[in-house]
Symmetry: C2
């Protein structure tokens, strides 16, 4: 009989934490117990889990006693503060924050792409940034068709990336705008209703914001390719929970035919082709929302570079962009334990 | 005393036609009279113009008798049908549709970029596509700093590009979504509220849609540079009337320093720098709306290509993307007449 695991969710009341809970509740997983952890703001709260009412506990360093797996999704500073305690208690930490992603001894994993890195962990496995996961799901399979040289990405990122409150803010501001009331930004620094803006992370001296830098550095780490050239422009758009990305991929040599790219992506797990010109089908947030698969479409030869192709992708930011990817890491890790 | 001109607006009741009327009403122009033309659907309608109530006339081939300038913004098929009659009547046609843009003897003009082409007209001067104008306003001045090699664009296009009804649809669908009512697309083929989709123009056998093809071909024509490599991905987003574009520009040789790019754009007419990292300023639709200037920001060296730079632009689709550019063409044309 396979082992069953005691699981903690650190940040259980956030948008991603809620999705972790749902995944553990609804999908097949060798689960012994679940512990819901959050900050003191959620003290006294209870959440449903498989028919039970589970109290939300205030996270402390001793919250992880007896845990086998700890999903962290409470922000980078909480991860830095509590993940070491979870590891010390014998838990494997699957961290959705940016805290440890670029640490050399922390694997950064998309299970469809580099599952073999999971075994290298020393307590912490990092979940990549949402935009990176969604882009790489479509980009990584192309390596089978030729070495990649350069990637140019522009993102259309949903409010959910900034949490449940940001999604609420988009809806509230939209209603205010429609009712002729003033739009007052609280979560985001700028109005998000009927507006878009450069991703609200600090901009470095190189002019890239942190979200863009994540895409550049994380892509190289996940693909184990330090020579890969990546540039990104990350933009927040008034969409609820699915990110879209316009991606230009240049190969080192001659690009593969688009028919072969479609075939390769069609056969890639976690990808769904949404690329039907005749029926006007292409990736859209309303179709990608609440779906596991990353949708890929608009695949075409780049008219400006004979070695490049263009494509457009869309994926649920909370699912494959965060909780689902972490859940899949846990499944792969558990498979490894069972062997 | 300078001459004054009799002006007709063909498509006076549309979003762009209304803006032509406002520009003629509010700005300095040597205007003798204005004639408002539309389809029979607007018969009987009257519109205010400088205190007068002007009847909307049904457009016929004889509508242009005595006109000096005819602004056309009633769609490509109406332009093809009626522009020849206007030219035959002695009017110069400034056509906002795609009908004649790529005809070899029709100048395609952005007055800040290629005003000299105006004089080459044989009756028709074409106003470029909105996305092309907004992108080129920021791209063209860079030619002073080095030969351009390749441009990679991803657009974030507002509903207004599809007309006043499309803007109305965005608002109506947003309200329906917020009220929990079904979202029923009428103008656009897909829901636009809290969604985005590939530009709703036909896709060719090369995989590019018409909007993207316009950006590629019109850019080369306006810049008089057939060797310029351009690729574009055109996406409609839930924004009312300002387009945004993520633009990667590669130079033939070494890229100029970003300080010089900023200086050059700062001095370029029709451009406003919105590129202040310290104060979190970058181009946003809510700032570009109802503004003449195209906002440019996020200017940085491309981390993936030593000859390329990245930037982000935003401009009012109805103003500089359409009516204002046409109005400026008329002004330049009138200046030429006066000489």
């Amino acid at each position: 009989m396979p082992r069953e695991y005691h699981v903690a969710i650190a940040g259980a009341t956030g948008a991603v934490g809620e999705e972790f809970r749902k995944l553990l509740e609804e999908r097949s997983f060798p689960l012994a117990s679940v512990r819901l952890l959050a900050s003191s703001r959620s003290q006294g709260k209870k959440l449903r889990f498989r028919g039970d009412s589970v109290p939300v506990e205030v996270m402390t360093p001793s919250s992880f006693e007896g845990c086998d797996i700890a999903f962290f999704s409470a922000g980078a500073s909480r991860s830095r503060e509590f993940a070491p305690a979870a590891v010390a208690a014998g838990s494997v930490v699957i961290d959705n924050s940016s805290a440890f992603r670029m640490e050399p001894d922390v694997p950064l994993v998309i299970p469809e792409i580099n599952p073999e890195d999971i075994a290298k962990h020393r307590g912490i496995i990092a979940n990549p940034n949402c935009s990176t996961i969604i882009a790489l799901m479509a980009i990584a399979p192309l390596r089978a068709l030729g070495k990649l040289r350069r990637i140019v990405v522009s993102t259309y990122q949903a409010a959910s990336g900034a949490g449940a409150q940001a999604m609420h803010e988009l809806l509230e501001q939209s209603r205010a705008y429609l009712d002729g009331r003033p739009v007052v930004p609280k979560v985001f620094p700028h109005p998000i209703a009927f507006n878009l803006f450069s991703h609200n992370t600090p901009v470095g001296s190189d002019g890239y914001n942190e979200e863009e830098r994540k895409m550049i550095l994380e892509s190289r780490k996940i693909l184990h390719d330090d020579s890969l050239r990546v540039t990104a422009t990350c933009i927040r758009v008034p969409i609820l929970r699915a990110h879209a990305e316009s991606i230009n991929v240049e190969f080192e040599g001659t690009r593969p035919p688009t028919s072969l790219i479609r075939e390769t992506l069609f056969r890639s797990p976690g990808i769904e082709l949404a690329d039907d010109v005749e029926h006007g089908r292409f990736p859209m947030p309303i179709e990608a929302t609440s779906r596991d698969a990353v949708l890929v479409g608009r695949i075409r030869e780049d008219a400006s570079n004979e070695n490049a192709i263009e494509m457009f992708v869309c994926g649920d930011q909370i699912l494959k962009g965060a909780a689902l990817n972490g859940f899949q890491i846990a499944l792969k890790w558990a498979e490894g334990q069972a062997q």
